[in-house]
């Protein structure tokens, strides 16, 4: 009997210490992103931007020590699902983030939300979560998918084009992109083509564009796909015949670097650019270049903003997430942080209301970069906010 009571006391003491250790543990953030294949550098940049914010605060966000678990989804939904399940069930992740591609987010987001955890996307923001399926714990930091391309539609209209030929890959974000472009483009759509996700050869599509003789071409082909299309379009002599008007994912600096001089002069649009003149942006770019010895793409800026947003919320709740869901949620909605984009606030559906800028590709000091030429629209919200009941 004595021995049993002794063991009981020891056991209880140890578990009390253990429980104390759990309470004082770092906040676990799950970052599931695409690190391999043609879209790999998108995920690598989101991750590096996110981790930069943590590094700047010495391993903390908003004063709370965080541990970021990073895994590669390989652009495959099944892999994303497996990693998310492991993060939620085994690793005790409280905030899920990182998803780049919109064939994975419709699998991982509902999983996370059903588990009662926060889902904060630094990139992929498909339309269903902005409208009917909006959720109080779902936050999109970069944009809503369609708005990226709505800006291109507005840009094309303001440049006076009367018709367009449009292409995108055959998946959720591709469909969102063409829907977004058409929503704000006043001209006629001469051709609408869906290519395969990850397609490398666009000769057939380029031949059709040549035959259709449109005034301009718009496409949404992020990462390696954009590089392939741009190279082949130029080789087919089409750059001189039919101009391209693009959105940010088709003209990031890595695509510009891989394709080269043939991209100079191409018009595109974005919510962020290196030459945006605000203190947060300047500090971010300097910090990123010092830490990683390369220039940040727009994806890095999105990863960084996501981390800073979470930091602002953690600072408001004193580091609590799951223990104070209402407080954390309110702090996230308030978005009280200095975005590298300048003015930033959330719409009722937790998607951003922000400015969109027109840019053109130029050569500067031997590098190919984008230069802002004007503002396309200010305080632009997405088209699905009214369908969200929040």
């Amino acid at each position: 009997m004595k021995l049993n009571i002794f063991r009981l006391i020891v056991g209880l003491t140890l578990s009390a210490i253990g429980a104390g250790a759990v309470l004082a543990e770092d906040l676990k953030i799950g970052l599931i992103t695409t690190l391999s294949g043609g879209g790999g550098y998108l995920g690598a940049d989101v991750r590096d931007g996110f981790l930069l914010a943590i590094k700047e605060e010495g391993g903390k966000l908003g004063g709370k020590a965080v541990e970021v678990l990073v895994e590669d989804d390989g652009r495959k939904p099944e892999t994303g699902r497996a990693i998310a399940e492991r993060f939620l069930e085994r690793d005790g992740v409280e905030i899920m983030t990182g998803i780049i591609f919109s064939n994975i987010s419709p699998v991982v987001a509902p999983l996370t939300l059903r588990a009662g955890r926060f889902y904060v996307t630094p990139n992929s923001a498909p339309s269903q979560f902005a409208g009917k399926k909006c959720h109080e714990n779902y936050f999109a930091v970069a944009w809503q998918n369609d708005t990226l391309h709505e800006s291109a539609g507005l840009n094309a209209t303001s440049q006076g084009y009367k018709n367009a030929y449009i292409l995108a890959p055959n998946y959720q974000a591709g469909k969102d992109s063409l829907a977004g472009f058409k929503r704000y483009f006043d001209g006629e759509i001469v051709g609408e083509v869906y290519t395969k996700l990850g397609q490398t050869d666009y000769a057939a599509e380029i031949a059709k564009i040549r035959a259709a003789k449109p005034e301009m071409v718009f496409h949404f082909l992020p990462g390696g796909m954009g590089i392939n299309f741009a190279k082949q379009y130029d080789q087919a002599g089409m750059n001189d015949e039919v101009p391209l008007v693009l959105a940010a994912p088709s003209a990031d600096i890595k695509i510009l670097k891989a394709v080269g001089a043939s991209m100079v002069g191409i018009s595109n649009s974005s919510h962020w650019n290196h030459d945006l003149d605000n203190a947060a942006n300047k500090a971010f770019i300097a910090g990123f270049e010092a830490a990683y010895d390369r220039s940040p793409t727009v994806y890095a800026s999105q990863g960084y903003d996501t981390a800073k947003l979470i930091a602002s919320a953690l600072s408001a709740t004193g580091g609590k997430v799951t223990e104070d869901m209402d407080g954390f949620r309110a702090a996230m909605k308030a978005a009280d942080f200095d975005s590298v984009r300048g003015p930033f606030k959330f719409n009722n559906n937790h998607h951003p209301i922000q400015n969109w800028y027109s840019r053109v590709v130029v050569e500067r000091d031997g590098q190919f970069v984008n230069k802002i030429t004007g503002t396309i629209v200010e305080n632009h919200g997405d088209a699905y906010a009214s369908q969200c009941s929040m």
């Binding site: 550098y41 609408e192 190279k231």
Partner: protein, 307 residues
């Protein structure tokens, strides 16, 4: 209209030539050594990375092309001696597992060496721009160069297989391997030669692909799946089959992507047509493969095994 049809036809043939370059090695390796080599696409990628890197160093496309060939050959030789040679006696599942692991290994290695950002490589100025063919169709010169290169390789392969001693041994080995072994031929050396040669064709295709496509990790995998379809349609172990299969797949895939959406657009409204046709055109070659397998299960130009 003539421009469109001829351009699409040429696109199909050009894609077919690419597929032939990669499939020829694949079919030889499968036919002669009975090894399923999933890492063949990685050899394609190594060729592309080699030329992109060497082009950055030497600034000459031709020099980079010539120097990349031994690079691919050395890689292939190492892979064959260390890994593939142990797979000859194993069954297909073991080969699939081992070569799949090789893909992951090579992909990670390339990422460690070159990072995740795709590499820059442009078409050499001599081969860029368009040329006019018989005044009917104008087509990118570089793609014509690829077609010519593919035909040249096909010709060289034909000479080797039909007219040389090595070719005789290859034909004998694909027909009946054991007899060739019994006749005292050094089959191991032959295996290595054939593997390296097949790999070099794939690497060469990668080098040609570099200027036209994104030089990125995993660029070989998409092509590899199409190549398996080519050799299944053409008949495993047969170079003639690989050529025919490749051109068929190239033309059907291109024509499918080019004309199916318009065809469907006549019956369905635009958004529905685009969605369905995107799926249909990417399915078209697999449908073709099923049809060929039903009608001629061993492929269109099978190698008749004599045991």
């Amino acid at each position: 209209m003539a421009q469109l049809y001829f351009e699409q036809l040429l696109n199909g043939i050009q894609l077919g030539m690419f597929l032939f370059l990669v499939s020829s090695g694949l079919t030889l390796i499968f036919g002669f050594m009975n090894v399923i080599n999933l890492a063949h696409g990685s050899l394609f990628m190594i060729g592309a990375y080699a030329i992109a890197f060497l082009h950055g160093v030497t600034n000459s496309f031709l020099l980079a092309l010539i120097l990349s060939l031994p690079v691919v050959a050395i890689f292939a030789w190492v892979i064959e001696v260390v890994i593939i040679s142990r797979l000859y006696t194993r069954d297909h599942l073991d080969q699939v597992l081992a070569t799949f692991a090789l893909i992951l290994f090579i992909n990670e290695g390339t990422t460690m060496l070159f990072g995740r950002t795709p590499m820059f490589l442009d078409v050499p100025p001599l081969l860029s721009g368009m040329i006019s063919i018989f005044g009917v169709v104008s087509y990118p010169l570089y793609r014509i160069a690829i077609i010519v290169a593919g035909l040249a390789v096909a010709f060289v392969l034909w000479i080797i297989i039909a007219k040389t001693r090595l070719g005789m041994l290859i034909r004998a080995g694909t027909t009946n391997r054991e007899t060739v072994e019994q006749l005292g031929v050094n089959i191991n050396q032959l295996n290595t030669i054939i593997f390296v040669a097949g790999a070099m064709f794939a690497g060469f295709a990668g080098m040609l692909a570099g200027p036209l496509t994104s030089v990125e990790v995993g660029m070989g995998e998409n092509l590899l799946i199409l190549c398996f379809v080519c050799i299944v349609i053409g008949g495993i172990g047969s170079i003639r089959g690989a050529l025919l299969g490749a051109i068929t797949v190239g033309v059907v895939d291109t024509m499918g992507r080019a004309f199916v959406p318009d065809l469907l657009g006549k019956f369905l409204e635009p958004t529905a047509a685009s969605g369905i046709s995107a799926g249909l055109s990417s399915m078209s070659i697999y449908l073709l493969m099923v049809v060929v397998l039903v009608v001629k299960p061993t492929g269109l130009f099978p190698v008749v095994k004599s045991h």
